[in-house]
Symmetry: C2
Subunit: 558 residues, 2 copies
């Protein structure tokens, strides 16, 4: 059979986060493969309580790892490289990344006991990495972290541009400016661009994106206007923003103090890799605590309301000897990611209770997005003139909107969500397979499948409470009538003020006394009957059906 | 001691939702009291899993119910009257409300087996309700539900205006327009307005609010442009919006079908009370299913992503014989309340996967807020010229911002969050007491205190999982070594692939075999040791410390 070019998203298509995209070229079923990005996403109490990280299930790729040539990481955000430490072992091939991104990958690998040598630091275009049928170039793009790259992937079937996260920013403060001439060249070489796999995150933002450089003046003016302690938070990886904030502090005759591990790590990786230059000297929290309040800016982690980050700690009181008070000012130089509103709100209100003036970026003065808006996405279409657009980085709504836009502009476009394998060889993409995909949860130190039932049980316990029933069956197969009931996460008292546990025990005693031998000998029958009685009594008495766990202990004759 | 005028918020001040405000007049500690509003708020998985409703803890008011003259309900939203059915019994005094609001109160009371006579239907100003030292008038204001009212409360110490929820809408489509002349009169009578207790919900919205009437054209144009089935969702209580949507449907030659109990109830109460006139005839779901798709508009509940509402059901497939498909259009004529983004997003994406075109109100074309924005709040200040402003309806951030605004305009202003009792008698409000307040959760059919630990245990089980250990101690106080461990919401396998439960059982067996008699006889010591071992083993093997429940069954000699 003829060789073909395939595309298979395993994460990030039909969702925002957890990016992982496979390209392949070769005979059907024998394509040589590359993986672009290995991201994570974060859990939430609604759907994944207790889960530390969520990763794409790479089972298909693991089964085909003998065909995998290498892994490319576009940039250093967690949703693009966060799974490197956890999942690399399953794949075992080299990782290619630019210097700053590579340094972050190495930290992840080393934390999990892997070698830093797995990462091959790769320069930007014109440097080419040849892997099997693929010639891959990293092309600098602007984004909210330094050294972001799109990939130009040349294959025998034509050229693919995989944008990664990008925006059109000619003055990004730190990192590479977006360079239209480079992209013009990329579009003009050879047969041009066959497929554009394109970021869709901001497809619903209809105004043109704004440059990071626009923030310098408003932020400086804001800092100058404050009279006491100044605190600012943003994503630690947004080094350009840290630079803008720190520059404003220095211009306003304030010293900068970095609070939060991620913040210090990012600045130090930035400095080590040369991505960040001229970052002002910082002071430690001890020194900051002893300075006049109007001479300090704290740059802190936790812009998304993370419970353990510096912002949250400061909002709860003293942190590393520092505390905020009446007349201090706190700037959220960030956008609240949907779903985090409540956590961020809690911190803002706690600060307000201290008398701290809270500023957010809602009016656009103190934050710009890192993603291309709709007009910028259109500009990218127009620059690259691809035959086909495949939207990625987006929920279904985003992908669909992007497809409709591309089609309206005369391009071919197709939605491929996680697991959909497209054959890109011909003029129009064809769906050729649907691969089982899924999510892997990191729970403590163990990886579990999303469908294992562990999280489902947690959610059920959280919603319904948990009743435990312990029953003892003696050596002669008689159930002892005094079942023991323990309740967790359930009201102890019924509507009438009775003890719910005792009430259930009473009903169970009645059942156990009357239970015939056949039932008592059968664990499953016993469990079912006990569960049913427990749930019925609870429903009558408190209007809820709890989860029930039954433990039957059978005494053995000596 | 001299008589005094007091204000005591028990809910809604320092939060959005769950409104309940007390005013009192008389000798200190003997003031005669009125309560304004009895609202609820809704739980969420983050902080209140499994909780059906959250209500203010009225313990202070219950203890002082002999001093309570009556309850006034400003309007029919759940955050203002939702607790009437659940908490009225604790207070036992008449409820005063306008006709539409009163009808909703009566439904709530009757559902809980109380008499409809508790509610005294009261006409708007100039009608005056005299209760003890209070003369109270309902003054029509515009809001997103018909018959909203502010209260003018005249006391021997002066006039209070309690705005309730309001906006400045001269053309609200349904219900009373905002009438500046009335408010001018209220400000001019007697000594004018002493205290304005004022809605703060939209204090951070800097543009003037927009009228409901502005939506008619955009919505009509939108409906006209759709080619297949049209679905629209909004709050069921926003009868003006239902009217606007239904009018557009009729103008576009479509029949209207109401889906969702709340939607049908609101329209029928609206018609019965005469608040709603000329609502077009509706068709049932059967009829709608048999009509050509371009001749129907479904008006459905669930704009906030509620799992069981019609929107969610339609997004999951067939509902009452109706299902959506490629080319249909779905309008969210609503704002997503912070915290509901994920649930709403899930529905939108599910609709997108069906090929349904989803429209939201983000560009302002298809929704206006029901609350006064910052310039409107200022207009209210200017109309009423109160000596003192007390902001309500807001998180601390909102109250603080409102206080700063009022002070900047030369008025006295004070933050009073739930439980803060203000003495309003003098020129400036004085904090005179701090009352214990709190939240009551409706869990199934039982009311529990927020601090009872039930919800805390649910959250812990959801985050950490739950391990149950059953141990038997024989007649001679020997612990049987085979402890039984059941895990719920925990990975069954350790990092090395071992069975976690068996692993814990093994460690417990070792402990039980070696346990001395003194330990075995002591339930608490046994429990502590078993809990510690279980948590340690789990931490080592899976990196998590579960909640542990221990059941020790002691066999008795016959």
């Amino acid at each position: 059979m003829a060789d073909r070019l395939i595309y298979l998203p395993l994460g990030g298509a039909g969702e925002i986060g957890m990016n992982a995209y496979v390209y392949g070229y070769g005979a059907p079923g024998k394509e040589r493969l590359i993986l672009v990005d290995m991201g994570v996403t974060f859990g939430d109490m609604d759907s994944t309580p207790g889960i530390d990280l969520i990763m794409p299930d790479l089972v298909w790729l693991r089964e085909n790892s003998h065909r995998l040539e290498g892994i490319f990481i576009t940039h250093g955000h967690e949703d693009h490289l966060g799974a490197v430490g956890h999942l690399w072992e399953q794949l075992g091939v080299p990782i290619y990344a630019r210097q700053f991104t590579g340094a972050l990958c190495r930290l992840k690998l080393e934390e999990m006991g892997h070698s830093a040598d797995i990462v091959r630091i790769t320069g930007p275009r014109p440097e080419v990495t040849q892997l099997g049928p693929f010639n891959v170039q990293f092309v600098p793009v602007s984004h909210s972290i330094p050294e972001s790259a799109a990939l130009v992937i040349d294959t025998p079937a034509g050229r693919i541009v995989h944008t990664g996260d990008f925006k059109l920013d000619g003055t990004p403060v730190v990192g590479d400016p977006f360079d239209p001439m480079t992209w013009h060249d990329i579009a003009s070489e050879g047969r041009g661009v066959k497929v554009l796999t394109c970021d869709s995150t901001n497809i619903f933002s209809t105004h043109p994106g704004r440059s990071e450089a626009l923030l310098a003046n408003p932020i400086l003016e804001w800092v100058m206007a404050q009279k006491n302690m100044v605190v600012a938070t943003t994503f630690a990886s947004n080094i350009a923003r840290l630079r803008t904030l720190a520059d404003a502090a220095i211009a306003a005759d304030r010293k900068v103090c970095l609070l939060g591990r991620a913040m210090r790590r990012m600045v130090s990786v930035g400095l080590e890799t040369g991505v960040l230059t001229d970052f002002p000297d910082t002071i430690g929290p001890d020194e900051a605590a002893n300075m006049p309040r109007n001479k300090v800016m704290l740059l802190v982690t936790g812009s998304q309301g993370e419970r353990r980050a510096a912002s949250a700690q400061l909002s709860r009181g003293r942190y590393l000897g520092l505390s905020l008070k009446e007349g201090d000012s706190f700037l959220f130089s960030s956008k609240t990611i949907p779903g985090n509103e409540r956590s961020v709100g809690r911190i803002m209100n706690a600060l307000s209770e201290m008398g701290v003036d809270v500023y957010d970026a809602d009016d656009g003065l103190y934050h710009v997005s890192g993603h291309a808006n709709r007009p910028d996405i259109e500009a990218m279409h127009d620059l690259l003139k691809p035959a086909t657009v495949i939207p990625m980085h987006g929920e279904h709504l985003h992908l669909r909107e992007h497809v409709l836009l591309a089609r309206a502009k005369g391009m071919t476009a197709e939605i491929a969500t996680n697991g959909t394998m497209l054959d890109l060889t011909g003029e129009t993409p064809k769906i050729v397979d649907q691969i089982e995909t899924g999510r892997i949860y990191l729970d403590g130190t163990v990886k579990i499948g999303a469908m294992d039932g562990v999280v489902r049980d947690r959610i059920r316990m959280a919603l319904n409470g948990h009743a435990l029933v312990s029953v003892i069956v003696d050596e002669e197969d008689n159930a002892l009538p005094d079942a023991w009931v323990e309740l967790m996460g359930l009201p102890g008292r019924t509507r009438n003020g009775d003890d719910l546990g005792q009430h259930i025990e009473g009903e169970l005693a009645e059942f156990l006394e009357g239970a015939d031998n056949r039932t008592v000998r059968d664990d499953r029958k016993m469990e079912e009957a006990i569960r049913k009685i427990t749930r019925q009594v609870a429903m009558e008495e408190i209007g809820k059906k709890p989860e029930v766990t039954v433990i039957i202990s059978r005494l053995m004759a000596d």
